[in-house]
Symmetry: C2
Subunit: 320 residues, 2 copies
């Protein structure tokens, strides 16, 4: 219920997944009156899903504390409760991030040793796995040295079991690679992460910069949720501007239109590769259960990507 485009976009995304994964099954928590009519369009999905009616919806501007106090009948709460009680193996939401984190924290146990859960995002890179992992992408707006240490361990596990990277290279995001740079908690985390790398089976590459988020020099980028969220969204903003300019470039002259015609298939592949919708879906790490946060503004393609990510991770019990 929480996506900016409403239940219709979510259903269309689910239908894409239902087609691709014949064994997938769905429980939809939300307003039956808003969900049942558009669901009629999707015959395949209809057969494999059930609707659990809830009256209440968490709004995008609701504070996390409000959900804990008054949101227990909401579709979001019921979704996480269903995961907790074992009715579902993955929970996916397009709703309010703060509320989703608070609801998950309240209902699901923290994994042993985890100080603060984090949202991990996949960033396209030229690494063999095709992606780098950035965390925290916005589960919280702060992180102290112990949280950053915890994120390095969570990110290492995610890279190993979610992306099959042996001996992942872990870096801490900073404004420069020199060891004297950055905020005090980052410098303290540097020493902590440096000490544990061998025990946990990863390689600590030290400080990395914003330009490294998509580079092949690192697999896991550790940062606080404020910085991580801004970094991800800034890159998306840049990608959008570039797409727009490129489309315009191919309309500019008759020659460029001919060029666009010949390069059509390759350009389509290219646009798909850089499409942020294809890497939609942040994974809430550090809890006993797979919770996926989809972008609020996601369309069916993005929603399908987020659900698919959840399906792939559902069997990796080492992950969360």
């Amino acid at each position: 219920m929480g996506g900016d485009r409403g239940p219709r976009a979510v259903l269309a995304g689910m239908n894409k997944v239902a087609k691709k994964f014949p064994n997938s099954q769905f429980i939809i928590h939300g307003d039956k009156a808003a969900i049942a009519p558009p669901l009629q369009r999707y015959k395949l999905l209809r057969q494999r899903c059930q609707i659990k009616h809830t009256d209440q919806v968490v709004s995008m501007d609701a504070k996390p504390s409000q959900i804990i106090r008054n949101g227990r009948d909401s579709s979001m709460w019921k979704t996480i409760e269903s995961l907790k009680e074992g009715f579902s193996t993955v929970a996916v939401s397009c709703g309010n991030t703060g509320a989703l984190v608070a609801t998950s924290l309240f209902n699901l146990k923290k994994s042993p040793g985890v100080s603060r859960p984090a949202i991990a995002c996949l960033c396209p890179s030229s690494n063999p796995a095709g992606y780098n992992v950035l965390l925290d992408a916005g589960a919280d707006i702060r992180a102290n040295k112990d949280d950053l240490l915890c994120f390095s361990i969570l990110g290492n596990q995610f890279a190993k079991y979610g992306l099959s990277i042996n001996n992942p290279r872990v870096g801490i995001l900073n404004v420069g690679t020199e060891s004297h740079k950055g905020r005090p908690e980052i410098k303290a985390a540097y020493d902590l992460v440096n000490q544990i790398q061998e025990n946990y089976g990863f390689e600590f590459v030290g400080f990395v910069e914003g330009t490294d988020i998509f580079s092949s020099a690192v697999d896991v980028i550790v940062t606080d949720g404020f910085t991580g969220n801004t970094a991800i969204k800034s890159s998306e903003g840049a990608a959008l501007v570039i797409r727009k300019n490129l489309r315009e470039a191919f309309q500019y002259t008759p020659f460029s239109r001919i060029g666009g015609f010949f390069a059509y298939t390759s350009l389509r592949r290219f646009f798909k590769k850089i499409d942020p919708r294809q890497s939609n879906g942040g994974v809430l790490l550090g809890l006993e259960g797979v919770v996926i946060k989809s972008h609020g503004g996601s369309d069916p393609v993005g929603i399908a990507a987020a659900i698919t990510l959840g399906l792939k991770l559902a069997n990796s019990k080492n992950l969360c």
Copy 2:
């Protein structure tokens, strides 16, 4: 002396500017033995520049405090000193950012009312001015509510007098647009900036997100130097990956190579438009003097862009 590519790249960049701006004159502070021989290549530049020899160079890993104590004979110090004493109207450096800020702060007066200077960066956007202004891009790693207020005023002035934008739209960078989100200092700054917008002749649009940095919904984006630096560098990282993928797309099949041939001119224009080198150069705002920070890794194209920015701003006395 401080650029990653050494004095040769700087000289080549200066030469580009010398050709384009017939009235430009240059003072080069640095090691004469390293500068004079390559300068021989550039006849035009040679006639319009003088070398002021210094033995000492500020290294990229030097701490700002070291420069204040022991760096007074360095090329960086002498460059700022020359600006202070009126021998030059603009100072440009590719060197250590922290040292440049510290040297500038020590030598140049703060503008009245400025709590903390900030580096302003130009981000390509579809606004009529062609750019948005983001500050702080890394003069410091922190900013409290009063600093963010100060940045909004500095950014407003820069947009007005540097980019000729009437009534600029100013936003504060946050993880969401809802007013309850974000760190305490950001929420406090929201109220402060909201109160002064009319007096200072700008429109406060509230919180903006990373995706807005390149959007036409805002002209000035205010944030702390840690977040700003990461946002800029992340976008550059994304742009680099996209460029690489696009070039590969045009090599993929014979058809796409034909497409690339026909679209060559439009693609060249496109690549120029999204080239981060073209918007290289951060302006240190809040001091009595125009100091430009160029990327350390800049090539001649980037260095020429940074110097050109300085030249354009040199006559805007309202700016700094």
